[in-house]
């Protein structure tokens, strides 16, 4: 087991709301791996290239699809990871997500793209697969292991969904690292200085703040807070709303139902937002349908007024993080800025105000998280001189609780506990002879279970029947280094390992993930060819197998010598090409063999019909496909 991984590449991936990146350790410093277009950032944008072939394209190349066929493209899918339909009502008002109509509360979401439906982890997997390909192209060898970053404030379901996405993309996810923590690793590599660091991470769709204590290479997170639905996207939406109102009012044009025009306008307002970080005024300028054009100058003052409520939402998480770390702003030694939205001057001013410190912006705020992920990948691979003595001690962002009597939450692991963290609880029965106990696990800070995020319901089964209150079931909850919960249980009086049936509230079952791994081959860009080859080979096997049976059939002797010779020749040809790599050649050979065996097939069919008339069952005839077996991986039910 050990000793092999160090030779393998482990990449660090920042799977962002707006952009995603893959990085690795180049010698002793982390570096981003560019894509084919030379760009370090892969926009987290997935589109169906055309409705028929079902081929996906990811990143910048998908922009054209987004503009021309918005119904076949999706962006900001990170906002949907690990969430249910009832959680995303606000999102649906602002983002053009097309959720399948039959998704019920408590189910994993399905997004419509063209004619098909995909879960958020499957879409994210397409982005990860693109990054994987970029890395493989760069190294010239397969990449199968990765560290992936997640917002520190992601809950269990969101983390699990990210891990599932990795698996679907063919990546073994060795660790999920919190984004602000990763950023501090990237900074810590040069600094190697002890002290208290605050990381303020405002990205496209998520906000995190983490307070860390750096001590001789140990990065100990003291507290973290945030909002997984707050970011630059929200500012874009405000600008977009203003522009739409203008367009309706001044140009008498309602473009809300015109996906193409909305996307063009969205791009224009984002350009304006970016320009306003370096200029005091910028123009929204966009061509609209019917030859109309929208232009409006936006001053930085107006922009800041508009963005202020969004930016202010980051204040209370910062204060809470400080309070949880038992620190005053004056005790913070350094402040690190992460995420594209920290380029906004007003954001910088606010952070300066909050922490009363100058800000670190030496590293590119778009890249620093991926760079940190690469550092952590190196640590997991066994480390090197550069990462010597570096160790991350992270925390769980949310309290873990169990629903108790009256629907209130009994907290068993407090937020900001260093992970791995565990808690042991004891349960008993309330009814004579009861053999099952149901447990509802939630995450969050609120008093009532209904106000927290439901993680899972457990059924403890197989409890030996005893008087009420006599069984003593010990349930152990363990949050691992990825921030993901594991549960085990034991009945203590009988010593029996209680069986647990876990129903994740918004997660995919293992079987579903396995199925998606298989299906993902159908959709991957470059695997498409491989898939066609496999299918052609399978078809070749089927016809060769049928021919084998035909040889043993009575009607075989009714073929002429020339006919059977011709069959033998085509058979040999197919056998030869099927070992090759060209699916078209295989298909052609199949076609040829089909042609020369047509009379054989007819003869066999006639004979089958004759047998059937004699009362024999069709099953007994040779030339018949096997009855279709039920799919080996039927979707599991999640309630």
């Amino acid at each position: 087991m050990s000793g092999t991984i160090s030779e393998e590449r482990i990449v660090g991936i920042d799977l962002g709301t707006t952009n995603s990146l893959v990085a690795y350790m180049q010698g002793d410093s982390p570096a981003v791996i560019p894509g084919e277009d030379g760009s370090n950032l892969v926009p987290s944008l997935v589109g169906l290239a055309d409705a028929d072939t079902g081929q996906f394209i990811v990143g910048n190349v998908a922009r054209k699809v987004l503009i021309e066929h918005p119904e076949r493209a999706i962006y900001s899918v990170k906002r949907l990871m690990g969430r249910g339909i009832e959680d995303i009502q606000d999102e649906l008002k602002l983002f053009p997500f097309r959720i399948a109509e039959d998704v019920k509360p408590g189910e994993v979401l399905r997004i419509r793209l063209g004619e098909r439906e995909f879960t958020p982890p499957e879409i994210s997997a397409l982005i990860l697969r693109r990054l994987k390909k970029n890395a493989e192209r760069f190294f010239g060898e397969p990449v199968t292991k990765a560290v992936i970053t997640v917002p520190a404030y992601f809950n269990d379901a969101q983390r699990q969904a990210t891990k599932d996405a990795g698996r679907i993309a063919g990546l073994e996810v060795l660790r999920l690292v919190n984004e602000p923590t990763a950023a501090s690793l990237a900074y810590g590599l040069d600094k190697k200085k002890d002290g208290i660091v605050a990381v303020y991470d405002l990205g496209g769709g998520t906000f995190d703040v983490s307070i860390l204590k750096l001590h001789e290479g140990i990065f100990e997170v003291l507290s973290t807070n945030g909002d997984t639905h707050l970011g630059g996207d929200d500012i874009d939406n405000l600008l977009l709303t203003i522009a739409m109102d203008d367009i309706v009012g001044d140009l008498k044009l309602d473009i809300r139902r015109n996906g193409e025009a909305v996307q063009a306008l969205r791009k224009a307002v984002i350009d304006t937002k970016i320009a306003l970080s370096s200029q005091t005024e910028a123009m929204i300028d966009v061509e609209l349908p019917h030859g109309k054009r929208y232009q409006r100058a936006i001053s930085r003052e107006l922009f800041e007024q508009l963005a202020e409520p969004v930016i202010q939402r980051t204040v209370s998480p910062c204060k809470q993080a400080l309070a949880d770390a038992h620190l005053q702003p004056s005790q913070i030694d350094e402040v690190v800025l992460v995420g594209g939205s920290t380029r906004i001057p007003r954001v910088r001013a606010l952070v300066r105000e909050l922490f009363q410190r100058e800000l670190h912006t030496e590293l590119n705020p778009d890249e620093v998280v991926a760079l940190g992920a690469a550092v952590q990948a190196r640590i997991l691979a066994g480390g090197s001189a550069a990462t010597q003595d570096m160790l991350l001690l992270d925390v769980t962002p949310l309290s873990l609780g169990i629903e108790a009597l009256g629907g209130v939450v009994a907290k068993i692991i407090q937020r900001n506990s260093t992970i791995p963290a565990s808690a042991t609880e004891h349960f008993t029965t309330g009814v004579e002879g009861q053999t099952n106990v149901a447990i509802h696990v939630v995450q969050g800070e609120r008093e009532l279970a209904s106000d927290c995020r439901s993680l899972a319901r457990f059924d403890l089964k197989g409890i030996p029947p005893m008087s009420a209150g006599l069984p003593r079931i010990e349930v152990k909850f363990l949050i691992d280094a990825n921030g993901i919960l594991h549960v085990s249980a034991r009945e203590q009086r009988s010593g029996k390992q209680a069986e647990i049936e876990v129903k994740p509230t918004y997660g995919l079952t293992d079987d579903q993930v396995e199925k998606m791994i298989l299906e993902s081959f159908d959709y991957a860009e470059e695997d498409f060819r491989q898939r066609q080859l496999i299918e052609a080979r399978n078809e070749a096997e089927t016809i060769l197998h049928a021919l084998e049976k035909g040889r043993r059939h009575l009607v075989w002797h009714r073929l002429s010598k020339q006919e059977s010779q011709e069959i033998a020749q085509r058979e040999a040809e197919l056998n030869q090409v099927k070992a090759g790599q060209d699916h078209k050649q295989i298909r052609a050979a199949i076609e040829e063999l089909n042609k020369v065996t047509m009379r054989l097939a007819d003869l066999m069919m006639d004979s089958a019909v004759a047998s059937a008339l004699k009362g024999k069952s069709m099953d007994k005839t040779e030339f018949k496909n096997d009855v279709t077996a039920p799919h080996p991986i039927a979707p599991a039910e999640i309630k």
């Binding site: 991984i5 691979a381 009597l405 565990s422 993901i484 594991h486 876990v502």
Partner: protein
């Protein structure tokens, strides 16, 4: 979510078969299975309440550098599991023992005092009867609490009526200051009881132990009572 298999504890190292105790095999250096243990034993500390917290932190960092799952990413799945479990024990132990109150409560639980169960039962009972959880007023505070409750009631009434009586506000602020002073005095008192506890001979369930233990329970109850009072006053003043 996965099931974590329960690990068996054995005296021989799973890897080399030599006798092994502690977190690592002395002979081959391999991590050993996690065992059910108390936080003091896990960190190799005596069950005493005066702890050098700087030394505790150093030990926490030292063990983290040896046990953390990041160091076993290349190990077998068993070793990864044990490392996760042991690190969770380490983290839980450090978190509990570095906090003076958490440490005292934990030690009392080890000594058989069911603090948490008592509190939870009281909460459940209160909820079932639909009343607020009643804490027994510590005898030394009876008079103070009686007066305070009247002032709080007055303050709430005033608030409801939209009135503002500076006298009540001032009284409450003064009461809060007195309570906070009492609260911080409890810290000194606790330190005294710690010293007494630590001076007692271990392994003997003598009358002296029971007496000191009960005094600690009493102090923690008073402490939590005062903390709740301060919270109520702050809410009323807000």
């Amino acid at each position: 979510m996965l099931h974590l298999a329960q690990t068996e504890t054995g005296a021989a190292c799973w890897s080399c078969g030599q006798a092994a105790s502690g977190h690592f095999c002395e002979a081959c250096g391999k991590i050993q299975p996690a065992q059910g243990t108390d936080y003091f034993s896990f960190l190799g500390l005596p069950r005493k309440l005066n702890i050098d917290t700087a030394a505790l932190e150093r030990e926490f960092y030292r063990l983290s550098r040896k046990l953390h799952p990041d160091l076993f990413a290349r190990g077998s799945s068993r070793e990864q599991e044990w490392s996760t479990e042991k690190t969770s024990q380490l983290n839980d132990a450090y978190r509990t023992l570095k906090d003076p109150i958490g440490r005292t409560q934990y030690l009392l639980e080890l000594e058989g005092v069911k603090l948490e169960e008592q509190s939870r039962n009281a909460t459940d009972a209160a909820r079932q009867s639909g009343t607020e959880k009643q804490q027994v007023v510590p005898p030394g505070l009876l008079e103070e609490v009686f007066e305070l409750n009247m002032q709080l009631e007055e303050m709430r009434m005033n608030k409801k009526m939209g009135e503002d009586d500076p006298n009540v506000t001032r009284d409450l602020q003064q009461a809060r200051d007195r309570l906070e002073q009492k609260f911080s005095q409890l810290g000194d008192e606790l330190k005294q009881i710690w010293d007494e506890w630590d001076a007692l001979p271990e392994l003997q369930n003598t009358q002296a132990r029971t007496t000191v233990r009960d005094r600690m329970v009493d102090l923690l109850n008073r402490r939590s009572y005062i903390r709740n009072l301060v919270r109520d006053v702050n809410e009323a003043l807000a």
